[in-house]
Symmetry: C2
Subunit: 341 residues, 2 copies
DNA sequence: ATGAAAGCGCTAACAC
DNA sequence: GTGTTAGCGCTTTCAT
């Protein structure tokens, strides 16, 4: 049960060299070391099955090689893919990823930032839509400032309440594209299920909807980005006397809920109702009919964000925000409105 | 950009006490310290906005307060929930969770274990089904041994190739229950879509199927635990001359794929075909009709596993394996076989 | 109850 | 090229 690993000193002794020399070959710097000396050290390493303590190294270098990712909930496929993107490039670069499920709770988020700071993480990624919470904004800004001051590079994959570089798509524009598509199909009465107004992504997507409205009738109901919420909101819309011919849910989970509501009411999709989502998550592609959705390149966003962090850590000037391209994926869930339009 | 945090020495100096004393009050031990001294230190802490370096503390105590979780892919909802379970209790106990996506690749898994060892993690959780790979088993065992020897407690949420405590359900028995249920409904020709034979969970679930077979005709096709794979396998089964009246996919993703296949062929579910899954993941509940499935209490498994780790870390004797209860959730996707049975 | 000092395992000047 | 040594920031005997 005791801790009995070999350390650098053991290696140095066995190889008959100084601690410094051992360190130089082990840490793989380009520092000049005689071939034979290097061999001796390496063989000592093998014999002792030595592997360096990442902790000690982190303490000495102020570089932990750990990246923190703040998400609403990894259980949500939207976030999961974002995390995968980050993790994929992080791993290859020798970085570890810590997932922080903040459940969209400001206090939890702040607490996590503090912990990440204590661990001297090299980077922090805000994966989810930023929270809009005025009285929380300042402490958030402070936490981020301390993090950055400690040398960590902070970045977001969606607009957030603090001033950090953002790698994301244009959420507003995605909505515009989708609404236009629905209009092109002939829809003039569109129900929109929005997300929590405390979330920047929800806000931006809704803004796009308003922008593209034109002379269509748009019925907006606010919901919570969950399938259950989408289900309820869809029921509301479908029960209305002004029943829409199409429903655009501002995330896939809600679209899935809406689809379920349609099924329950025996409304055929896309025959009598068009349902589309936002995000293009895996579950949305697996419904019947498969959902059309605004494609948010989550893996790519995560990967690009992580690459930007690595670049900055490697000495690059500063990370600049990037707007990644999006598109809309048209699948079986949408068609022209039924009957005489 | 420079690193400018206050450290314990600063606090001690400002409070006019020794490093040792400062440490004692900051680290929150029960060590006796005069009330006034404690106050002085605390106020210095506040003034300096001091927070201890988790890294330094970890180095000094050999306790990193970090837990590593090895999963196939966080993007898979099955794993995501498992991770959430672990994370929820970890966070409350002041532990951080590192997610390691091994993609079911032995080499990646081993590499990650090495990294986790270097970070001196306090615990490692194997979340997914263990890989069955003979030539990999030994190095896996070695890695685990080193980890344990370093003081980490290792545990699995499914049977794995090494001897560690397991917190899981009885996968075999879950299959038995589901097959029995299908038989009770009247099904006598059941198609089973199995998982990769390199996975212990897939193996156990299949074993249960065989055990409960009785005199039913069971058609087994091997697949890969993905929706796509399930889709293909279902097509195979549905095209066969001996078309089954029910399909039991050994994980939900494949069941979802099977459901899609049925939809594409215009086969009504559950009218003409029953489709059931294993896992009870969120996406499975959101299909139409909603899938019946063997309920694997993933959040509970993760949480229980993490609690066991904490107990052991806190000095408890040893972690013992636990078999959590499972059940089957019956939803709209199953019914009696069509026609004259 | 408090302080001095020796690590934890590694890196990075700075000498030789 | 290689070795010496002083930290990184904290905990923890051992004195007092």
């Amino acid at each position: 049960l005791g801790d009995s690993r070999a350390n650098l000193a053991d290696v140095a002794k066995l190889a008959g060299v100084s601690l410094a020399t051992a360190s130089r070959v082990v840490s793989g710097t380009t520092y000049p070391v005689t071939k034979t000396t290097r061999e001796r050290v390496l063989s000592a390493v093998r014999e002792l099955r030595y592997t360096p303590s990442a902790l000690a190294r982190a303490l000495a270098t102020s570089r932990s090689h750990i990246i923190g990712v703040i998400v609403g909930d990894v259980g949500d496929p939207y976030f999961a893919e974002l995390v995968r993107g980050v993790e994929d490039v992080a791993r290859r670069a020798g970085y570890l990823v810590i997932v922080c499920n903040a459940d969209r709770d400001p206090a939890t988020e702040i607490a996590y930032l503090g912990t990440l700071l204590d661990y001297r993480v090299d980077g922090v990624v805000f994966a989810g839509g930023g929270l809009i919470a005025p009285d929380f904004q300042q402490s958030l800004a402070e936490s981020v400032a301390r993090l950055e001051q400690s040398g960590a590079v902070v970045l977001a994959l969606a607009p957030v309440a603090v001033d950090v570089p953002i790698v994301s798509i244009d959420n507003r524009s995605g909505s515009v594209d989708m609404i236009r598509h629905l209009q092109a199909l002939g829809h003039r009465r569109i129900g929109v299920i929005g997300g929590p107004r405390t979330l920047t992504t929800a806000r931006d997507r809704l803004e796009g909807v308003r922008e593209a409205r034109g002379d269509s009738a748009i019925l907006i109901v606010e919901s919570d980005f969950t399938a259950r919420g989408g289900h309820e909101s869809a029921n509301e819309l479908l029960a209305s006397s002004e029943r829409p011919t199409a429903i655009f849910a501002l995330n896939d989970q809600m679209a899935i809920g809406a689809l379920t509501a349609a099924h329950e009411r025996g409304i055929s999709v896309p025959g009598s109702l068009t349902v589309v989502g936002y995000g293009d998550t895996a579950p949305a592609r697996q419904t019947w009919p498969p959902l059309s959705s605004v494609v948010v390149p989550r893996h790519e966003m995560g990967a690009t964000g992580m690459r930007a962090i690595l670049a900055r850590l490697g000495g690059a000037e500063r990370v600049s925000s990037q707007v990644l391209p999006h598109r809309i994926a048209i699948r079986g869930s949408c068609g022209p409105p039924a009957g005489p339009s």
